[in-house]
Subunit: 357 residues, 2 copies
Amino acid sequence: MKTTFFTPGPAALFPTVEGHYQEAFRLHLGSISHRSSTFRKIYQHTAEQLRILFNLPSSHAILFTGSATEIWERILMNTVEHESFHLVNGSFSKKFYDFSKELHKYANAQHKPFGEGFDASEVEVPEYAELICCTANETSSGVQMRAAEIHKLKKSNKTKFVAVDMVSSAPYPNLDYSLVDSAFFSVQKSFGLPAGLGVWFANEAMLEKSERMKKHEGIVGTYHSLPSLWENYLKFETPETPNVIAIYVLGKVAEDFNRIGVDVMRKETDKKAKLIYDFARKSDQFEIFVEEESHRSATVAVLNCKELAGQVIERVKAKSGMVIGAGYGKMKETQIRIANFPAVDLEQVEALLHNLA
Amino acid sequence: MKTTFFTPGPAALFPTVEGHYQEAFRLHLGSISHRSSTFRKIYQHTAEQLRILFNLPSSHAILFTGSATEIWERILMNTVEHESFHLVNGSFSKKFYDFSKELHKYANAQHKPFGEGFDASEVEVPEYAELICCTANETSSGVQMRAAEIHKLKKSNKTKFVAVDMVSSAPYPNLDYSLVDSAFFSVQKSFGLPAGLGVWFANEAMLEKSERMKKHEGIVGTYHSLPSLWENYLKFETPETPNVIAIYVLGKVAEDFNRIGVDVMRKETDKKAKLIYDFARKSDQFEIFVEEESHRSATVAVLNCKELAGQVIERVKAKSGMVIGAGYGKMKETQIRIANFPAVDLEQVEALLHNLA
C-alpha cells in the first residue's frame, strides 16, 4: 500500500522532488565547492524562480538558513534594538515571542485564544515596537491571517517593520512586498522537500537597520547576521557551506510551481480546502475547529474529532496508507490536522475524505 | 569519464552515501515527523554509532546544527562569558577568532604564519581565558595540531575549556574526551555526505556554564542554545525540524566506518598521506608546503606548484576526471590541496599521483 502524507510538516514530498535529488547526485552537487560558479548559478536560479513565484521585488534579498526557526532568531537579533511586537495565537507565534525575551528584547504581545485569529482593526501596536511579527498560518491551530490584513497593519504602522511567518503556507499568501519587509518559510511544508533549509526574504531597510545596530555596538550575530548573509548573497554565495542540494532542489520545485502558475496553485488550494471544510461541516464525526471563516487556514485544516484522534489516524492509515496529523500539543487527542499542500492533489484529498467518512 | 573529487570540502561522497539517500527516500524520511519515535530512533542510532567511532563518553552530548560554522558561534555564545583564546594559523582558525570579537567577547589569540602549527609547549594561555580554541586540521593551510598536543594543553589548563575544530579531519584525530570538552565537525568533509549538517560534541561542564550564564542574564541564544539543544537531545529530539535525512545518512556512514574500524581507517589515512607526501618530496614539480613534519596534515595535503595551480588542476581533470582543490585564498595560484578522506582509497590516490606526475 502506498503511503500518502497529509501531515502538516514534514509533509508529503512534492512528486518531482525525488527525481530532482537523483539529478543532484548525478551532477555531483554533493561534492562541488560552494565558492564555485556552478554553485553561484544554482543560487541564482533558485532566487530567480522564487522571485517569479512570490512576485518579489529587487528590494528584497533571498537568503538561506538552516531552518525557519533560525530565522526567528536572526530577524530579532538583526532588526530589533529594543522592542518587538508579536501577534500570538498558537504555539509557533508564541515561540517567536519567547525568542525575543530570550534575546533580552522588550517583547510585547497581543494574545488570542487557540483557534482564533487577528484582523488589523483590532491590533494595537505599542508605540515603541520596531518589528511587528505576524503569522500567515498558525500550523498548530489552523488559523490564518489574511494577506489583506497584514497589509493594513503595515499601512497604519509605516515606520515599523512587518515580518511574516509563512512557514506552513508559502507560496499561498499573496503578499505585497512593497508593504511586507520580511517573510520566511521552511522547505518541508508546502514545497514538499525534506527538511534542512530555511528561506528568508528581507528588504534593504532591514539591512540598513542591522548595519546601524552593528555600528552602535549591537550584537547582530556572526556568519548569519543580515550584513554577512547579504554581502554573500550579492555574489550568490553563502557565508558557510550550505545545504547545496536543498538549494538546488528548491529552485527546481519553484520552477515546477511556476510552470503550473502560482494563481492556479492558489485556486487549487482553495478548491481542496473547500472540499475538506465542506466534508467536516456535513460530518457527524468531525467539526471545523476555527469558527471564524475568514481566519480558517487554507493550507492546514484542523478538525475536532468525536472519537480519539489517535484512533481516527490509525484507522485511516490501516485502511488506505494515508497519514494525517494529530492535533498540536494539548489537542493531540481531540483534533486532527490535514495538510493541504501542493504535493497532494484534488483526487488524493477526495480519497482521503472518502476514507475519513 | 568518471569524476573523482579530491577537493577538501565539499568532497567526494563516501561510496555508500547515495544508496543511503535512496533508502531514506524509500523509508519516507523526508515526510516523517521529527517528534515521532521513528525520528528518535534515527537520532539514537546515529548518536550510538558516533559514540563508538569517536570513543565518546556519556559525559558528552551529541548535538546537531546547520553547519560547523554555526558551532563556532554557538560555542562562544554558550561557554564564554568574557574571554576566549584562539590558536590562529590559517583562515578558518582566524574566522573562529573573528566570531568571538563580533560577539563582543574579549578575544585573545596567538598567531603563527600560514603553514606553521602549534605545539603545546609554546602556547601561552592568557590567565582569564575561559575557552581555548584549537584547530585539529587547518583546511586552508594543511596544518594539523596533533591530539597529544591538544591533550597537553588541557592538562596545563585544567580550569579552562578546550574546544577542537576537527571539521576536516574527524574521525582521524584520536581525541581523549576526558580532556577535550568539546569537538565538532561538518559532514561534507571526511564523512563524505552532502553539506547541510554540523555535529557538536559538548560535555556537561559546558552545559553547566551555559546554564549559569543564562541565569545571570547572559544571552546564550534561543533554540540552539546549549541548554535547549541538550534538553531535546535527552529525548533524541532537536529544537527545530532538522535535516532529518542527513542525520539518518550520517548514522549509516558512521556504521559503515565502524564496520571497517576506526583504527584501520586511521592507518589507511596515514598510508595514503605518506604516498602523497613521498610523491611531492621526489617530484620536481611539487613541494610540500608544511615544513615541520609533525604539523603536516594527514587529511588535507597542501603542495606548492612550480606551474600555475589552475593549470595543474585543469590538466589532471581533463586527463583523468580527477578534481583536486586549489590553494586557499591568496594561495589559489601557487598551491594545490589534495583531500585524503576515507571516500578515496589507496588505488585512487595512486592513480591521482600517477596523473599528477
